[in-house]
Amino acid sequence: MKRHHIIPVATVAGLLVLWELACRGGLVPAFLLPAPTQVVAALVRDAALIASHSATTLIEALAGLVVGVILGFVLACVMDRFEVVAQALSPLITLSQTVPTIAIAPLLVLWLGYGLLPKVVLVVLTTFFPVAISLYAGFSSVDRYQLNLMRTMGATTAQTFWHVKLPAAADQFFSGLKISATYAIVGAVIAEWLGGFSGLGVYMTRVRKSFSYDRMFASILVISALSLLLMRAVDVLEYLCVPWKRVERKQK
């Protein structure tokens, strides 16, 4: 294992040991903070149930993320193509992110019911923003000489977009996508807290009411794992879609 891997792993392991010792030594009451081993035991005990709830959350998050990314992508393209649209939409898009997710979720449940739709809509609302903003910034940062070069070669607007703008914005797009991926799981869970029949948020609400904090922590662990999984998936996607960056990184 390389040094840059050892340090974070050792840090997390050390914190877990300290946490375990603090719980076992009675420094923190067990009903307030379960020991890591108790959390793992709860995870194993409820594995089937948690897996079923996780599947619901993952479906909501992925559906919302896909729609959010498409929406963000289209918005960024339109804003890049038509400056007047960028001027009109920029404040609205920013304003949409100042409203807390937790405040919108009950309204969505009220309007759209307790099914999958309000959760997906909430994930869309939280995930389109990072993609739209980062991609638009990527499009805007393209070297104007590159654009002039394309003009001298007689390129159309669509050709310039495809050959120059899109690849140039790939870095920013994937940075935004990583943020969106983490927001997706959290957004779905928040929507589930406020109403629903299945999902990690629903599971968390139930175990909180029964004061099963070990299971509560187990679900937090799963939420983190799912978020990391999605981020890793974005990394793989970036690796496949942007091969020239691999070479540039190696050279650095």
């Binding site: 000489y145 590159q146 002039n148 001298t152 007689g154 690849p167 020239w244």
Partner: protein, 255 residues
């Protein structure tokens, strides 16, 4: 033949950059525009490429009016501007692909050119894996594959170190001679201009201070090169004609 007729160019704020410049470049000729930094050389090149509309005057390529119409003349910028997202081969193929040629056909056409330019072995590499000289050669190959009858080069060797610049200059001379290209090049280096060009035209002025640039004169380098080669039997760079021409050029520049 490329011809600029009484071109007057202005910046966006209305200030004139270049005034009444006329230039005629014969087929197969290499003309170098020399001027100080900020004298409007690049602006003039932009106008020849159709990237900017002149305030007055016109640009003709082979008797066709191409004023303000990009896409007719190959333009190599100061920076190589290779797209980092494409391999060297795909960068060079780009002008063909943009014209609707299939990727396969474009690659078939570009590969022999890359071989000729000494880039055959690096065709599948990314631009970041090339040296400065290789990148410039790839950019030149791309400009050439635009297929236009004239090429514009904006200080193409200025970003290179002195040794590579000398190598590139020699390479450029052999390639332009071999391919019979019509070239308009911009430079602020008198030595480079005299060594590369058949004819040097001097642009003088300071547009930023309200003095639009005009053509101060020209030097017929080709006849000097021919004469010195016959008379002294040595390279132009070491001949007395070169020193005389350089003196004349510096005087035109106002040094």
């Amino acid at each position: 033949m490329l011809e600029a007729r009484e071109l007057t160019l202005a910046w966006g704020d209305g200030r004139e950059v270049v005034r009444d410049v006329s230039l005629r470049v014969a087929t197969g000729e290499t003309v170098c525009i020399v001027g100080r930094s900020g004298s409007g050389k690049t602006t003039l090149l932009h106008a020849l490429a159709g990237l900017t509309h002149p305030r007055s005057g016109s640009v003709f390529l082979d008797e066709k009016d191409i004023t303000g119409e990009p896409g007719h003349i190959g333009y190599m910028f100061q920076k190589d501007l290779l797209l980092t997202s494409k391999t060297v081969l795909d960068n060079v193929c780009l002008p063909l692909v943009l014209r609707g040629v299939s990727h396969e056909q474009a690659r078939e056409k570009a590969l022999p050119l890359l071989e000729r330019f000494g880039l055959g072995e690096v065709a599948s590499r990314w631009p970041s894996q090339l040296s400065g000289g290789m990148r410039q050669r790839a950019a030149f190959a791309r400009t050439y594959l635009m297929g236009s009858s004239a090429l514009l080069l904006d200080e193409p060797f200025s970003a290179l170190d002195a040794l590579t610049r000398t190598e590139m200059r020699e390479w450029f001379l052999s390639v332009t001679g071999e391919l019979g290209l019509t070239v308009v090049m911009v430079s602020h280096d008198p030595d480079e201009a005299l060594l590369i060009a058949d004819r040097v035209v001097v642009l003088v002025g300071n547009p930023a201070q309200g003095h639009p640039a005009t053509l101060a004169g020209e030097i017929d380098v080709l006849s000097l090169k021919t004469a010195s080669s016959c008379r002294e039997g040595q390279t132009f760079e070491l001949s007395s004609d070169f020193l005389e021409a350089k003196k004349e050029l510096l005087e035109l520049l106002g040094d």
